[in-house]
């Protein structure tokens, strides 16, 4: 696995992650996001509907939350999750947890972590964790970690324990990794913990960097737990300790403004769960993510492909028709449950080339949500994924052309 940086400007890294797997055919643009899945399926989508999207990320993410309960099946199958799921041509990353769901706290021990499948909680030792990886056959995976420091008021002692345990797990994973035939070609990422305590973050980063890992997962920075200022501060300190030539994957952060801020402090990769969360609340991403190339027209750009809608999301008009906003709705999206879209025959986002926007109207999506129809999830997932990927492409373009500040302004307006 190789990270080729073409440009580093004001802390932002632009480049390409190559040689992700043995066949060395896939490369992932940096900064970029992974393809979020449930059990190797992008939520709501079959392979046919998924492939109406172009430029999908080269790396698909699966989680042990989903896969742990299928261990026996995967072991008998012998050929790994990619083949088991009939996946398209893609690289595979395996994480411990699913950032779209919050797992109950308090189940971690010195030797185990827990994941939650359809049948309930499953406890994993390092041995079991590694056996799972062997059955899954990812191209890279995070080592087992104690990331349960996202709650408010986690004590310093608890944070220190999390760092210690995570390092211990990493060392054990590395040993087992060497001994596991099925993981010969796979890469392991170390996990940086440390909660919101600067010294612990630095310690974790420094220690993890000493190990022979292919990259770093930044954990415990989940959006709900932490304000972006603190997050930026901590990540700055962390990345200062990490080698430049290895990729940094940040878990649990997906909101566009937070993504940009984290790119500015040296993060390379993000998980792709945010479009799914937006979809589940019946909303559609609609924020402006155009990149202007001409400084003279910046700020007064003519209607480009993704001119922002006249409608501003509900922040300005809360509870206008008595419809309550979905919980956690952000200012980057529009709420298709709202009655105002009942007769709106325009596409979700003018100029968007996704299947949903090319074929359907806001009124139709609204109808599907009102009538609880499954197709709502399909269409919204397609649009939200397309829009989010477009955001990352535009972000990279902005970095390449030194238009980051302007881009930031447009996204945040």
């Amino acid at each position: 696995m190789k990270l080729e940086l073409s440009k580093v400007v004001q802390g932002c890294r632009l480049g390409l992650l190559t040689a992700i797997e043995q066949t060395a055919q896939h490369s992932l643009d940096v900064p970029g996001c992974l393809l979020f899945t449930h059990c190797a399926t992008v939520p709501h989508l079959t392979q046919d509907t998924l492939h109406t999207l172009s430029n999908l990320p080269a790396v698909t993410q699966v989680t042990l939350n989903c896969l742990a309960e299928h261990h026996e099946v995967l072991e008998e199958f012998k050929e790994g999750v990619r083949k088991f799921a009939g996946l398209h041509d893609t690289a595979l990353y395996c994480s411990l947890h699913d950032s779209a769901t919050t797992n109950p706290a308090g189940h971690i021990t010195n030797k185990t972590v827990s994941v939650w499948g359809s049948g309930g909680r499953m406890e994993l030792t390092v041995a079991k964790f590694m056996a799972l990886q062997a059955a899954i056959k990812p191209d890279f995976y995070q080592s087992m970690a104690d990331g349960e420091t996202w709650q408010a008021n986690t004590s310093r002692k608890r944070v220190r324990k999390a760092v210690d345990r995570t390092l211990a797990h990493l060392d054990e994973c590395l040993i087992l990794h060497q001994k596991t035939q099925e993981l010969k070609q796979a890469k392991i990422f170390g996990v940086v913990e440390g909660g919101n305590i600067l010294e612990e973050r630095v310690r974790s980063a420094r220690e993890t960097a000493k190990r022979p890992v292919a990259g770093f997962v930044l954990d415990g920075f989940q959006s709900a737990a932490m304000k972006q200022d603190l997050r930026s501060q901590l990540i700055t300190a962390v990345t200062a300790e990490l080698p430049q030539e290895k990729p940094r994957l940040l878990q649990g952060v997906g909101r566009p403004d937070e993504v940009i801020a984290c790119v500015e402090v040296g993060v390379d990769l993000f998980e792709g769960f945010f479009p799914f969360q937006v979809t589940e609340r019946g909303c559609a991403l609609c924020f402006d993510c155009t990149v202007t190339t001409d400084p003279e027209t910046a700020g007064t750009s003519p209607s480009t492909v993704l001119e922002s809608n006249e409608e501003r999301p509900v922040v300005e008009e809360p509870k206008e028709n008595g419809d309550s906003c979905p919980e956690n709705m952000t200012r980057f999206e529009m709420n298709l449950n709202d009655k105002r879209y009942r007769e709106d025959l325009r596409p979700l986002v003018e100029g968007c080339s996704c299947y949903c926007c090319k074929n359907h109207t806001r009124a139709y999506i609204h109808h599907l949500l009102v009538t609880n129809e499954l197709l709502a999830g399909v269409l919204l997932m397609l649009h939200n994924t397309a829009h989010y990927l477009r955001f990352f492409r535009a972000l990279r373009e902005a970095l390449a052309n030194d238009r980051l500040q302007d881009f930031k302004r447009r996204v945040l307006q």
Partner: protein
Amino acid sequence: MAAVESGTCEGPAGMSAVKRLSHAAPLALRILAECPVSKARACVLTLPHGPVNTPVFMPVGTQGTMKGITVEQLEELGCQICLGNTYHLGMRPGPELIEKASGLHGFMNWRRNLLTDSGGFQMVSLVELSEVTEEGVMFRSPYDGKEILLTPEQSITIQNSLGSDIMMQLDDVVSSTVTGPRVEEAMHRSVRWLDRCIAANKNPDRQNLFAIIQGGLNADLRKACLDEMTKRDVPGFAVGGLSGGEEKDDFWKMVTLSTDHLPRGKPRYLMGVGYAVDLVVCVALGCDMFDCVFPTRTARFGSALVPWGSLQIKQKQYAKDFQPIDPDCQCATCKRHSRAYLHALFKSDTAAMHHITIHNISYQVLTKLISRIFSCFSLYRCFYCSCCLYFLL
């Protein structure tokens, strides 16, 4: 569009006073082949939104959507006509909006054919305390509690707004398990309502109104209904009031009685049928068109249809079954996914339902059964014999 063939109205012998429309209906039926032993036939039914090969199974997309399947996927599955539901769509989002969105075709962006039912069945089956009078069906809306009266005229008005290629008359529906004078009353009323529907149709040049033969399980009443309704020059006929829990022997008798007395040159639509076995038999009895929610509904419960029955994919026995649902099936699901993966996926994501839905629609619409019928005809072999072989194998 020209409707040369549909003009030939072959009613029962001795028929007189044929009530004709002032212009030809937008439907043409071309019979490609007929089985010499059974009453089966293979046809091409041409409608405003394209041709439909019959026998045809029409999947049901109740609320203007085929349960998690995109219209592109539906087209790729070979579906040439599907159903929308007048009652549900009339409630939400309502005919005015749909008309504004260029009809149901425009609203859901389906460019092939649509058939809408009248709304009558739902009103009687779904809604408590509905009351039928000569005027129409009175019921209480489940959404706002208001009293609503659905008349034949209103049903047609809604269907005109939906713009479906085939509209069903509002009929007085009684369950096939009901006996006595109510059945006769319903039959006669359905004839009167047919005339009211015909008169109310604003778009006879682009929307086909089908009559629905009633009469329950009473041969005399059925025959009387057939005699009357075939006097009206409608472009097609449906056989209604069956597949609602009656004995199979009674069911088949009524189907074959109906097709005996329906004109050869017009399509016969058997409503609410259904299961693969029933499809085979009713094709042999002379029916051309079928609809049923079963394949799509059962898919969402993880039930995959196969020639030898069905697989309950959520059952433990499939957890390590690495073959596809049907190794011979060419649908996208079977080409790419195993029973084991679908079993696992059912625990994590709704997409599992979509995979099975696609397979089940493929099974019913492009069912080996129906394609066998066509290959049978192309080899000039008897459909009936082919059918027997099919069941014996």
